[in-house]
């Protein structure tokens, strides 16, 4: 998320709403705009998850039977990758806030590596499915499986783009203990991608 370079200095932000530093010293990490976007994404995914859940209630046998063909190993591996990637980004943010920006950059790179590994595992999983001639139109389960995971897949890709930009900016020394709004915003988005997968994995891969 390339923040406007002109406002790299401490831009006085007029806040129309949202008490970031209210009386109790509570502080919302990152930019309010990203949190609006996160809420919108969570809403879209929530509707998708519930559509899956209630569509499953309609024909449980077909869902359970088709679910057996899913590759549980790659699903679990991907969960571990995203959790670890998320953890690395937390460490990166903490490092940068201590002005250890070189260490922070390395953690960001590690987080991206996990994200990239997730994408690779996913591509293999998809190619296996497409080779078995499974597509969005095979049946309702596969339609949901591909729609949900592909929609999430693209969020991981966008997350990678964001982390890449944050990595470059961190290496340029744009962030530190004083200025880390964009870094926290990007990190919040990345954690949201992990949070979504944490719900998606049991729902689609395991629940029967």
């Amino acid at each position: 998320m390339p923040p406007d370079t002109t406002s790299a200095t401490m831009s006085v932000a007029v806040r129309p709403s949202g008490p970031p530093n209210d009386a109790s010293g509570a502080r919302l990490p990152g930019d309010l705009a990203i949190w609006f976007f996160i809420l919108a994404e969570l809403l879209a995914f929530a509707v998708f998850f519930l559509a899956y859940a209630f569509a499953r209630a309609g024909n449980v046998e077909m869902f359970n039977e088709s679910q057996l063909t899913l590759d549980l190993n790659s699903g679990a591996l991907n969960t571990v990758l995203l959790i670890t990637g998320s953890w690395f980004v937390v460490l990166a943010v903490q490092a940068v806030k201590r002005d250890a920006t070189r260490l922070g950059a390395r953690w960001l790179a590690a987080g991206m590596a996990c994200g990239f590994a997730f994408l690779v595992v996913k591509v293999f999983e998809y190619s296996a499915k497409f080779d078995a001639d499974i597509s969005l139109s095979t049946n309702t389960f596969y339609m949901f499986y591909i729609s949900l995971t592909f929609f999430h897949f693209m969020h991981v890709v966008l997350g990678m783009v964001i982390l890449a930009i944050l990595l470059v900016k961190t290496r340029q020394g744009a962030y530190g203990s004083r200025e880390h709004n964009a870094l926290e915003s990007g990190a919040a988005y990345w954690h949201m991608v992990d949070l979504l997968w944490i719900v998606l994995f049991p729902l689609v891969y395991v629940m029967r």
């Binding site: 923040p3 919302l28 309010l32 705009a33 880390h180 709004n181």
Partner: protein, 143 residues
């Protein structure tokens, strides 16, 4: 400066979100184009059907009727009219027999003075549209 609401962040999210969802839309559209041949019976499109679509357009039938539910709501749905009236001949006869000055007090269809070939083409086109796999819409024969 945490918890700020900077315009530059809002603009970046606008660019990122728009690009993201446009790419997603292109992906879904690409898949649709790949799936369509199995659903739209394109293999049955004959020159007559193509000519029929041309008649459909140059007489602006969509200005009163709906086709697959899209168009004007003044006159009946026509994607399943051949099935509803029973045969292509019935449809052709109906079009041919429209009175020039309309039916007093009733919604009236103009007399288009179509030649026999044009009538055949139009009927073939409407019959073809009815064969398209449109998730069995409309709910019943009345359209």
């Amino acid at each position: 400066m945490s918890g700020a609401f900077t315009k530059s962040m809002a603009r970046n999210i606008f660019y990122g979100g728009t690009t993201f969802f446009f790419l997603l839309f292109l992906a879904l559209s690409f898949d649709t184009m790949k799936q369509l041949p199995k659903r739209d019976m394109r293999q049955n499109i004959t020159p007559s059907i193509i000519a029929g679509k041309h008649i459909w357009e140059t007489r602006d039938c969509i200005g009163c009727h709906t086709l697959m539910g899209e168009g004007a709501y003044f006159a009946p749905e026509l994607a399943n009219v051949v099935e509803r009236l029973g045969s292509k001949e019935a449809v052709k006869a109906f079009i041919q027999s429209r009175p020039v000055d309309g039916i007093p007090g009733r919604r009236s269809m103009p007399q288009f003075n179509l030649t026999d070939k044009e009538l055949d083409d139009l009927a073939n086109f409407l019959e073809h549209v009815n064969t398209i796999n449109d998730a069995n819409w409309p709910p019943n024969i009345q359209g």
